[in-house]
């Protein structure tokens, strides 16, 4: 040992190693409890929500136009929605990925996706061809095929959302055998 090298450092390094090992073990146990599919669903939805929020946050005026084009909200709620909704998507995406406020996040994400899908089906049914405004804020008219694609894509996102909802609220709690370290 080098002169002046404190003896306690060796013990501290050993403690750190054990703590790190414990943390890794705990993470793996959490993953086992949550299930691989639920983890994937959570991460995919989180990434989708974060990605969807970015362009809307950068261009609030354009997003307000996209919200207006849906012709569902009262005129006076359009700007407020354009200001708050992208941040709600961002926060939900982050919370889903880090697993914070899981019940609330899953419930809101599923609810939002259902509302988005409902709005698009409503507009498709009344023959209003508008740009989705889902992942970017470009506006203008579009055609039936594009609207149908938006509906299909949003419907796809509902699968992981419903699965997460089921696992969070309705599914049986999985238990994992914990071994003594």
């Amino acid at each position: 040992m080098r002169p002046g090298y404190p003896l306690t450092v060796g013990y501290r390094m050993n403690e750190d190693r054990i703590m790190a090992e414990n943390m890794v073990t705990q993470i793996f146990q959490k993953l086992k409890t949550e299930g691989f599919l639920a983890l994937c669903a959570r991460l995919i939805l989180g990434a989708v929500f974060i990605y969807a929020s970015i362009d809307k946050i950068i261009h609030p005026a354009d997003f307000a136009k996209a919200v207006y084009n849906y012709q569902i909200l009262s005129y006076y709620l359009i700007n407020l929605t354009a200001i708050i909704l992208p941040w709600l998507e961002l926060i939900l995406g982050v919370f889903l990925i880090i697993g914070l406020f899981r019940e609330g996040s899953v419930c809101l994400v599923t609810g939002l996706l259902v509302v988005f899908l409902g709005s698009m089906i409503f507009n498709l049914a009344r023959g209003l061809n508008i740009h989705c405004g889902c992942f970017n804020t470009s506006t203008g008219n579009t055609n039936n095929a594009a609207m149908a694609w938006y509906v299909f894509r949003d419907g796809l996102f509902l699968f992981p959302a419903f699965y997460l909802f089921y696992r969070t609220f309705l599914g049986k709690k999985r238990t994992v055998k914990v071994y003594d370290l």
Partner: protein, 171 residues
């Protein structure tokens, strides 16, 4: 009636978590919107008579009577923002066709016919049609200053029995 305590707790937890998430988002959104340059008004009137405005806040909307007077006396150039197919089926007499969705393709064909200091009346069709507004703003951004929008133009023009033409635009 039996109420499962665990379920009640979970509903409560979900509710307060949802409220907290919403409040954080609302606070962040409003705060950032207040301090950024691109911020928008929290409450704005999006009704059609108010919405289309130039930067100064002046409305771009023109009345049917005024549009008729300007266009029929050739004091203004009317521009149809709809597709070439709809334009060919019928359009305001003397109107040029500049479909907003194919702007880049069509602007070169009509640019020479529109002096920068001319009055321009842009129209499309339908209460909610936004093509005319989009096109008008595009023209303003190109330097045209006297641009007006005739809301629901084609339907109102037809209903008033004003002069129309049909057929494709001459190249």
């Amino acid at each position: 009636m039996k109420v499962d305590i665990k379920t009640t707790c979970r509903v409560k937890t979900t509710f307060w978590q949802g409220v907290v998430i919403f409040l954080i988002s609302a606070a962040l959104g409003l705060l950032v919107n207040t301090f950024r340059d691109e911020g928008i008004l929290v409450v704005a009137d999006w009704s059609q008579d108010v919405r289309p405005t130039v930067v100064s806040g002046k409305s771009m909307v023109i009345s049917l009577g005024e549009a008729e007077r300007l266009c029929m006396n050739k004091q203004a150039i009317s521009i149809d923002a709809r597709s070439p197919e709809l334009y060919a089926q019928g359009h305001i007499r003397y109107a040029l066709n500049l479909p907003f969705q194919e702007f880049d393709k069509y602007i070169d064909r009509v640019r020479d016919k529109i002096p920068y200091d001319a009055w321009i009346v842009v129209y499309c069709d339908g209460e909610q049609c936004s093509l005319s507004e989009d096109l008008a703003k595009q023209l303003v951004s190109m330097g045209y200053k006297k641009v007006k929008i005739l809301l629901n133009g084609w339907t109102r023009w037809l209903e008033a029995g004003l002069p129309i033409d049909s057929g494709l635009q001459n190249e």
